[in-house]
């Protein structure tokens, strides 16, 4: 019993930071409809900035002052992000804004590295709160008790702000109908910036508050992201009490998990999320999303047409050049091209889902990494020949996608996206924590192809055939009746259904098919590298694919492939520099602001303007 209470108290103390960060994210989403992926980065900045202030300001006043100042500074950084990065893209398709926040993540990562260096920072202890209190005989750190005690007050203050002040009323009104709020004379730009500042400040506070417990390191941004999304989604997007309750549930669960099921703490969190969403699809306190709010804005898209002869010619020449690469290219060029090809297939499979199906999956790495792991596991544990593993991997990934899709497709919009992310994280944590089978963090190694494919050239041709083949199959399906049905289901579910299309089934099959193709890319990957590590399943990998699809152009079939080729190439160039993330992040933000149609869309627009292509005639 004593132990139980002690665990509960620790869980409640841990909930404090998580709650602050989650409520910031929730507030920002509620008003601006932006899922701010950079929120974890703001949390990380809060920790670093707080650390620096604690180094200079003395005593207890300095310590608590540093925490508040960290909140203020991060709030100001939030304003800069909102004004410089997001404001120019509010009118772009909604999900495009996500990509801008990915760019911000990269920029903040490198800026933090430049300013504070690569070493993990040990958080200073709170002055006067070094020891422990004995509660029912169990030692509880004094700082935990203080955190636990102040969190309800912070929650209360937020609650007061949101429910009892005019600003709060405006925030809630804008959450429902921002256009109407504007038409009543409220300057939305100021409201958005204000909300972004407040949300960022909360993330910063959360980062600084946890310093004595967790310190500061460069991985904090991604590490907090998953639990924060889980909390926001479980609690219900935009609900403060929901965020508090969910933060407590997750933190307490985590503390008990560490004690009783140390191998499955991460898995546990996502299992809870999946269960909650199956019972309450919009979270504990969430409201159903207003239909139409998440539609893509912008011009209606051009009909997809078979490639014109010109385009075909260019593609043929390109393929011929690729086929001849071993004759003139170095083996390094072949390896790099193999990487690019595999990534193109991965991106094309996501593009199929996202562009044609309108199904924004945040967790597509599950099938890519999943395919890679299935192949590696078969080879490692069943001594399977490479050929068999190579066939079974995409099939397994496709089946997994069918199962996961079946659950996720019950939701739409952001909730769908979050649930796909949760499943991907679930898989990642399974692989990460189930070390005896998956090798955990050490990955699985020695997964080489059969002898006949052992040379770089042979594998290059193998990868070329399967990735180009896969892309062509995806393209073919897009032009088939199934592809049309999928697009009909995306554009108007009701209309599609009235013409006899079973939209649910079409979308599920598409999800499975995209998973299969992602798995094929993963299988190619594992045999090209000879090993696989959990990071192939990570959020960052899913983001990579999302970024290239958005930047390549969601509305053009070639978008995924072009984006992947371009960015893999650029990344290869950039990663030679120390601060490549900074450059890459700025590049992404630049493309988002300057070329919101993506690369292919912009090229096509330019071509139409120069009369190379006639509008609507070609794709």
């Amino acid at each position: 019993m004593e132990f139980f209470v002690a665990q509960l108290l620790t869980g409640l103390a841990n909930a404090s930071s998580l709650f602050l960060v989650a409520c910031g994210l929730s507030l920002i989403f509620g008003v601006t409809r932006i899922v701010n992926f950079a929120h974890g980065s703001l949390y990380m900045l809060g920790a670093y900035v707080g650390y620096s202030f604690m180094q200079t300001l003395p005593g207890a006043v300095g310590f608590w002052g540093a925490i508040l100042l960290a909140g203020v500074v991060v709030g100001i950084i939030g304003v800069l992000i909102e004004v410089l990065v997001l404001r120019p893209v509010y009118r772009a398709p909604e999900l495009f804004q996500l990509v801008a926040t990915f760019g911000v993540i990269l920029v903040i990562q490198d800026l933090t590295l430049i300013i504070w260096g690569p070493e993990d920072l040990l958080g200073p202890r709170a002055p006067g709160l070094r020891g422990v209190y004995r509660i029912m005989g169990e030692p509880i750190p004094k700082y935990d008790i203080v955190l636990l005690a102040i969190t309800p007050f912070i929650a209360l203050a937020l609650w007061y702000l949101i429910t009892q002040t005019r600003v709060g009323v405006l925030v809630r009104a804008a959450t429902q109908d921002r256009e109407m709020v504007g038409a009543l004379g409220v300057n939305q730009a100021v409201l958005f910036t204000g909300v972004f500042a407040l949300g960022s400040a909360l993330a910063g506070l959360g980062g600084a508050l946890q310093l004595p417990k967790g310190g500061a390191d460069l991985l904090m941004d991604f590490h907090i992201l998953a639990p924060v999304f889980v909390v926001v989604v479980i609690g219900g997007m935009g609900s403060l009490p929901g965020a508090y309750l969910a933060a407590v549930i997750i933190s307490v669960l985590n503390v008990f998990g560490v004690t009783y099921l140390p191998q499955s703490t991460l898995v546990l969190m996502f299992v809870v999320m999946v269960v909650v969403l199956m019972i309450r699809p919009y979270g504990l306190f969430g409201r159903e999303e207003v239909a139409g709010e998440h539609g893509q804005v912008g011009e209606p898209e051009l009909p997809i047409k078979p490639a014109s002869t010109n385009v075909r010619l260019i593609v043929m020449v390109g393929l011929a050049l690729l086929a001849l690469l071993p004759l003139f290219g170095s083996s390094f060029a072949m390896v790099l091209t193999t990487d690019i090809l595999i990534f193109c297939l991965f991106a094309a499979s996501l593009h199929f889902l996202l562009g044609l199906g309108g199904l924004v999956s945040f967790g597509h790495a599950a099938y890519y990494g999943g395919g890679a792991y299935i192949a590696a596991l078969l080879v490692t544990h069943a001594n399977s020949p490479m050929e068999l593993a190579f066939i079974l991997a995409p099939l397994g990934a496709g089946l997994a996608a069918l199962a996961i899709g079946w659950v996720c497709l019950r939701l739409t919009g952001v909730y769908f996206a979050m649930l796909t992310l949760a499943f991907a994280q679930l898989l990642w944590s399974l692989v990460f924590q189930w070390g005896s089978v998956t090798g955990g963090d050490d990955g699985l190694v020695n997964i080489w192809p059969s002898d006949w494919l052992n040379s770089t050239t042979a594998f290059f041709y193998f990868a070329l055939i399967f990735s180009v083949g896969g892309i062509l199959v995806l393209r073919h399906v897009a032009h088939s009746p199934f592809g049309y049905a999928l697009r009909a289901a995306r554009d108007s579910k009701r209309q599609a259904e009235s013409t006899g299309i079973n939209t649910q089934r079409v979308q599920l099959l598409a999800f499975g098919f995209a998973g299969l193709m992602g798995g094929l890319a993963g299988a190619l990957f594992v045999f090209s590298k000879g090993s696989v590590f959990p990071n192939e399943l990570e959020i960052a990998r899913s983001f990579d694919a999302l970024i290239v699809v958005f930047l390549g152009g969601v509305k053009t079939l070639a978008g995924g492939v072009a984006g992947a080729a371009f960015f893999k190439g650029v990344e290869d160039l950039l990663t030679r520099f120390e601060y490549w993330r900074l450059v890459m992040g700025l590049l992404i933000i630049f493309v988002v602001i300057v070329a919101p149609q993506g690369i292919v869309g912009s090229i096509r627009k330019a071509a139409i303007r120069m009369n190379v292509l006639k509008q609507g005639k070609h794709s």
């Binding site: 005019r166 009323v169 809630r172 009104a173 109908d177 009543l184 004379g185 409220v186």
Partner: protein
Amino acid sequence: MLEVDNINSFYGKAHVLRDLTLSVPHGNVIALLGRNGAGKTTTIKSIMQLVRPASGSITFNGQGITALPPHKIAKLGIGYVPEERRIFTDLTVSENLLVGKQPPREGAVTWTEDMLFDLFPNLAERRSNRGKALSGGEQQMLTIARTLMGNPSFILLDEPSEGVAPVIVEQMAKVIQQLKSEGLTVLLSEQNLHFAQAVADLAVIIESGAQVYSGTLKELNSHPEIRDAYLAA
């Protein structure tokens, strides 16, 4: 007070307003009539800049407003009462009014919550109820009251009689007459000719986004052929 001059508005490629011209003199209630889909709502949204006209100009008290964002237009004293009411359903009646609140404006009535509750007694009893708990008629009153909280000198009323009970329509007519007597200028979009006749002085009829009639309601009554050609029975 408001001059709409040759505006053209589009939804995507659909050309909805065609060279529409309209003039609203100060202190009048002017009815904007026309059949379903004639473009009444689009006209009102174009004035509010919620739909941006591709060409033409709109001036309010001599000032061009076509380049302004909606919140600045509201700040100039133009109140917008949308067709779909668009009250904030999770907010209480009082909170809805608070969203609309703006500083006092010279030359316009400065409304308070209590004054509005006098005007709409039904709302007074429901001040701490959430918007979603209100009846259709109460929601319609709330959306007007919310706009009045901004102390407008001119309001755009989009079909206030639509889908509400006859008693409420009557009450609505009284309210509009009272607002007019207090010096407010009103542009009222309507399909209900009876209602328009009860409150409006002038009428403009539009058809397919272009003006086809402009005059007093009395004149319109003496030309049943126009009425029959452009208005639903």
